[in-house]
Amino acid sequence: MSNLAIRCDGIAKQYRLGEREKYKALRDVLTHAMAVPFRRMRSVLSGAAPIGRRQESWIWALQDVSFQVQRGEIVGIIGQNGAGKSTLLKVLSRITQPTRGQAEIWGRVGSLLEIGTGFHPELTGRDNIYLNGAILGMKKEEITRKFDAIVAFSEIESFIDTPVKRYSSGMYVRLAFAVAAHMESEILIVDEVLAVGDTQFQKKCLGKMGEVARQGRTVLLVSHNMAAIHALCSRAILLQHGRAVKDGNPVETTRCYLDGLENQTDSSVIDLRSDSVARTGKGRILAELRLKNAGGAPTTAYLCGDDMVLEFDIDPPFTVSDPILFVGIDDNIGRRIFTVSSQYSRSEFPAFDRPLTAVCVIPDLCLLPGRYSLSVCVGNPYDWSMDLVVNAASFDVHASDYFGSGRMPPQELGAVLVKSQWQVLSGVVRR
């Protein structure tokens, strides 16, 4: 028996643009059928290209995707929105057919593309466990056997005979995940379900996924949570515009993904010379700011714990003696997280009297995942802000396995990540 669980050979999927939103009305088809001969005649007369399937109205959601998954592997699939991740999962879980190529699957597939598929608000928790279980492919006998475990996992014992429409969203999600978590299929296909619910619940999901992994089942997991990918997966595949562009070690693949994220809306090279830059101070000293990663490549996407490299091009219109550089980092609600300065780190610069480049390295970026903006300032002990540009650049920080535990403190417990060591000593406390 082969040890393969999944083999994809050149899977491609074509969608018609707008097709999902716009279904045809019979009337349109009829009018179209009437109009076509006239239009064709007109196009023949005018010498235009004949009307056919116009190429631009079709897109390839997946193109030539090939990979193999061994039994027991946990493979993460990452990529931007629209890169084809969900389409790939839909093809592999047989919801839609590939346009080209073929996939082979050895084993029962349980797919969890959405939490609570088929839940009916009017039915009770108990009814929905059975209904949802059956939809996910479980046998009635199997659901009955696991019923107590499902209820216990969901922590909603006292509401089990209440219609689901009266549940809080947290209870709803817990119940839905509890059913899915008890699927027994050999292959599990999971889309982004770790992103729902409160942090407590996410932890529980993560724990359950780890358990599934240890049982030797095969898992295909789509997630934007890089920490989860790092902690759970033995391998990651990066999809970009429908193609699998990288397949390998999860850390390298997520790195590759973040590099690709760059230049979406944020620019890693910010021209500070232009008149549109809002600044305060005596004059235009800062000419350009560049955001880079530790390897020197331009980026606006960092992982927690990355080294951030900032390069400043300075073009002083006048001599700045005893110059000091400041960089302030604000979170997305404008709260200052920290400020670094050449002064605090005792880096003394010669007077700025000609164009030059200054480099600042912020090692081990201790920011929580999120979006941040960056303000820069040049000054000296006599005038702190000779050239201040507030919110000069923005960048994103993505979750990584910063603590090596697959876990991160939630937003409400603080704004920065601080490592700590813990141990238990015996015999210290006197009674």
Binding site: I105, W106, G107, T117
Partner: protein
């Protein structure tokens, strides 16, 4: 122990590749999903009566009120013949299969669109959906049925051995509804016009079927052609099985049965052919 057993058996091997044209019905897979079929039908029934004041009584109220209206206007005022059967019984014995048909047809035609969330998020044999909708209609039928027995006792009409064929006609009714529902359900995904024409189709079909009038109004030599409307054969057969007041309408039922079989087999294959695009279009 059980786990060991499962891993010891060879896991199922599935090949996913683009298919085109007509595909097999894959009835084996459908059979494996029979529990899901019952769960979906059970959901439809349970949800329908969950928040209604009358609950399951609705299943009786609808044919009962229709029967009263038909009796008043067609039976009393228009004096439509009823083959010697008391008109209320004549009408109710046809309304029973008719309600089953109309309900199952409407529900199965809308079923694929209504269950869009399921179709785009999880795989199971898609035929389960219209089948479950048609199945749910049988429950209403079962609730409304005892009344006809009560009426027969009232009018002192005794059941004959012909009643044993009644289950055949019940299945015949559901099959006819499903046959049309499969076509319309699959078309509905592509063309939402179907939803709007559905009320019209049901109304039209009611007028064309011998519910308010007997098929004996149709000249004898044309009667087999009348059977081209499968509901004509179904309803007359149903009446015969219950009341046995007229000779067995054999030729008409044969024609109707043939039409239903043709529609049903065609509908099953058409549905299977179209289902691969459901998730992309619905």
């Amino acid at each position: 122990m059980e786990r060991a057993m499962r891993f010891a058996t060879e896991p199922p091997h599935t090949v996913l590749r683009p298919s085109s044209g007509w595909v097999s019905l894959n009835l084996r897979e459908l059979w494996h999903s029979r529990e899901l079929l019952f769960f979906l039908a059970w959901r439809d029934i349970k949800v329908r009566y969950q928040q209604t004041a009358l609950g399951a009584a609705w299943a009786v109220v609808q044919p009962l009120v229709s029967m009263l209206v038909l009796t008043l206007f067609f039976g009393r005022l228009a004096k439509v013949p009823s083959n010697g059967i008391p008109y209320p019984l004549f009408a109710y014995s046809a309304l029973l299969p008719w309600q089953l048909f109309a309900y199952a047809l409407t529900e199965s035609s809308n079923s694929v669109v209504v269950n869009e969330r399921l179709i785009t998020k999880v795989y199971f044999p898609r035929l389960v959906i219209p089948l479950a909708s048609a199945l749910a209609g049988l429950v209403d039928f079962t609730i409304a049925f005892p009344l006809v027995i009560g009426m027969m006792i009232w009018y002192r009409i005794t059941l004959t051995w012909a009643v044993l064929t009644l289950p055949v006609f019940v299945i015949f009714t559901a099959a006819t509804a499903l046959a049309a529902g499969l076509w319309l359900g699959a078309l509905n995904v592509q063309y939402r016009d179907v939803r709007h024409t559905l009320t019209f189709i049901v109304q039209f079909w009611l007028l064309a079927s011998p519910v308010a009038y007997p098929s004996s109004l149709v000249p004898a030599r044309w009667r087999p052609f009348y059977g081209l409307n499968p509901m004509a054969g179904v309803i007359e057969g149903f009446r015969w099985a219950l009341l046995r007041k007229t000779p067995f309408p054999g030729p008409m039922i044969a024609v109707s049965g043939f039409v239903t079989a043709l529609l049903l087999i065609g509908g099953l294959f058409y549905f299977r052919r179209m289902e691969r695009t459901f998730a992309d279009v619905v």
